[in-house]
């Protein structure tokens, strides 16, 4: 950066009036106009609807919120959602690391194709993902695996939709990793496992955590891909998003708002922690020579 040499370009730029008689759109008035337009757009589309959830829940009062959140079906749905999401995040952290490793350190025919299709679960509509999983793991399974209407079915669907997260967060870090450090460790007599544990894993940890956190967050809120294969059996395969949909069918808006708030809080907590971890990793990188 040449910040020290040239001060703020905004400050030194002459206030030339263009041929059209209009100044370039960075004067104070235009900026606040553009900021205002952007803020209103995001508010109407995103923030106001979310605020309406808080408003609905507040209207019901604290008692109604606690009732909704501690209702047996709600508690059961939280348990199902969180345990399966946690399992899915762990499995995909392991396999995501393995896939990213193979894609960066190995070479084989068709590698680029494999690399490209990793993103397919992101591009595929969730209801199609559900159908796709049902084709192989449902009652018509050619493999003879029937997990429809079981927790395993929900898990498989969530594994599918969250597959790219860890791969895509670890892959660029693995690619940038300095191989010389590994060679130095090897020349000092470290075996592969030691190199992996002491050199590679610490460097990958922030990206692994971030991928796992995003996968978990996605799994917690997932709806479309689990409806067909899960079936929404209360206490067994009914995830929280399905419970919210059920509540709305019974027109219980206050309870639906309460469960929505719980899901939102879980997602925000994860994002907040990830920002913190990411921020610390970035700082460490800056401090490194």
């Amino acid at each position: 950066m040449t910040v020290g040499l040239e001060p703020n370009p905004e400050a030194t730029r002459p206030d030339t009036v263009g041929a059209g008689g209009r100044r370039k759109g960075s004067s104070y008035g235009t900026t606040s106009l553009r900021v205002g337009a952007a803020s209103i757009w995001i508010s109407v589309i995103v923030l106001l609807p979310l605020a309406a959830i808080l408003w609905q829940s507040a209207g019901g009062g604290w008692g109604a919120f606690v009732d909704a959140v501690t209702y047996p079906s709600a508690v059961a749905s939280f348990k199902v959602t969180l345990t399966i999401s946690l399992g899915v995040a762990i499995v995909n952290t392991f396999f995501g690391l393995l896939v990213a490793w193979v894609l960066t350190r190995d070479d084989f025919v068709g590698k680029r194709l494999v690399d490209a299709i990793i993103d397919l679960p992101f591009a595929l509509p969730t209801i199609v993902a559900s159908l796709v999983m049902l084709a192989l793991y449902g009652n018509n399974s050619p493999l003879g695996i029937h997990v429809q209407h079981t927790r395993w079915g929900v898990g498989v669907a969530l594994l599918f939709v969250t597959l790219p997260f860890v791969v895509r967060s670890v892959q660029p870090v693995l690619l940038e990793l300095d191989r010389e450090v590994e060679e130095a460790a090897a020349s000092l007599g470290a075996n592969n496992w030691t190199i992996f544990r002491a050199v590679i894993l610490p460097a990958l940890l922030p990206s692994l955590l971030s991928g796992a956190g995003l996968a978990f967050s996605r799994a917690v809120g997932e709806f479309g891909s689990v409806v067909l294969i899960g079936g929404g059996i209360p206490g067994e395969t009914q995830v929280s998003s399905q419970w919210i949909a059920t509540l709305l069918e019974y027109n219980d808006r206050t309870s639906a708002a309460a469960i929505s708030i719980v899901l939102l809080v879980v997602s925000f907590l994860i994002l907040f922690v990830l920002r913190f971890v990411g921020g610390r990793a970035a700082k460490r990188e800056q401090l490194a020579p």
């Binding site: 370009p9 030339t16 263009g18 059209g20 370039k24 553009r34 900021v35 337009a37 952007a38 803020s39 757009w41 995001i42 589309i45 995103v46 106001l48 609807p49 979310l50 605020a51 309406a52 959830i53 408003w55 396999f95 896939v99 193979v102 350190r105 494999v114 490209a116 990793i118 993103d119 679960p121 595929l124 509509p125 969730t126 209801i127 199609v128 159908l131 796709v132 999983m133 084709a135 192989l136 498989v156 594994l159 599918f160 090897a186 592969n192 190199i195 992996f196 590679i200 967050s217 479309g224 067909l228 919210i244 709305l248 808006r253 639906a256 708002a257 899901l263 939102l264 997602s267 994002l271």
Partner: protein, 270 residues
């Protein structure tokens, strides 16, 4: 780290087996089941009146969502990349919110805001504009889930671009519109393209949020994804596969665009 051959093959084949079981075989199976009865059956299934009207509805939603996202997304990206202002971090966080919100929660939020008993219920009760369980809600839900795409694809390009060229143009007397049209827009066109592609794909593919706020009437308020779910529920397995394959084609096109743009980016970096 020098891996022995055994370890390398073990890693490779375990990883490929995982992808095969989770991704490749299931997707291949759908394609096979769709095209096994012949290409004619596929086109007959996606050519029924219900399917045609679902396609039209989905495309109409796309035709509204994409221009709105471009019209508001590009200026928002510009403001985020070029200006410092109070509350910028807040705006940044708000833009990423849709990625973190469950589709069902999006539906709940829209019903509680725009529904007849909602915060903005006066729009339906007073002005007589039905939003929830009508077409506007499908559009609102689609915009909610796609709002980050254009902004998040364009903003980094603007950062990289810097302001040198724009300033030069301004010094030479070009109006802001000329500067935008001749300098800024050509520079961001690939980021914008990819943002639009993602927006189109997500709009066509959104299910949960749309399901919550649509009346889901065949031929009237049924999008392609709702049609897939309805056909499956009605036991029309093949019909569901056919529409799913149609949607999958869109997803594959997105991946192709992504690969092409990545290659361009690598080429530009060299």
């Amino acid at each position: 780290m020098n891996q022995s051959k055994v370890i390398r093959y073990l890693f490779r084949y375990v990883a490929l087996l995982y992808l095969l079981l989770l991704l490749i075989i299931p997707v291949g199976l759908i394609l096979w089941r769709t095209f096994e009865p012949g290409i004619g059956a596929f086109f007959a299934s996606i050519g029924t009146p219900a399917a045609i009207s679902a396609l039209q509805l989905s495309l109409l939603v796309v035709a509204i969502v994409v221009p709105l996202n471009v019209l508001f997304g590009v200026p928002t990206a510009l403001v985020l990349a070029r200006n410092k202002f109070r509350g910028k971090n807040l705006l940044q966080a708000a833009i990423d919110l849709p990625f973190a919100v469950s589709p069902v929660v999006v539906g709940v939020a829209l019903i509680l805001l725009w529904g007849s008993a909602g915060l903005f219920g006066f729009v339906e009760n007073g002005l007589g504009v039905k939003i929830i369980f009508a077409f506007p809600a499908i559009v609102l839900a689609s915009i909610f889930v796609t709002v980050p795409f254009v902004i998040r694809e364009v903003e980094p390009v603007l950062h990289e671009l810097g302001t040198d060229q724009e300033e030069a143009a301004a010094t030479l007397g070009s109006s802001w519109w000329q500067t935008f049209w001749r300098i800024t827009l050509p520079s961001i066109r690939w980021g914008l393209t990819y943002g639009i592609v993602l927006t189109v794909a997500r709009t066509l593919g959104e299910f949960g949020a749309v399901l919550m706020v649509s009346s889901n009437l065949p031929g009237k308020s049924q999008t392609l994804t709702l049609l897939v779910s309805n056909r499956h529920a009605a036991g029309q397995e093949y019909g569901a596969y056919a529409i799913a394959t149609l949607l999958m084609t869109v997803a594959v096109l997105v991946l192709v665009v992504q690969v092409i743009l990545d290659a361009r980016r690598v080429g530009a970096a060299k």
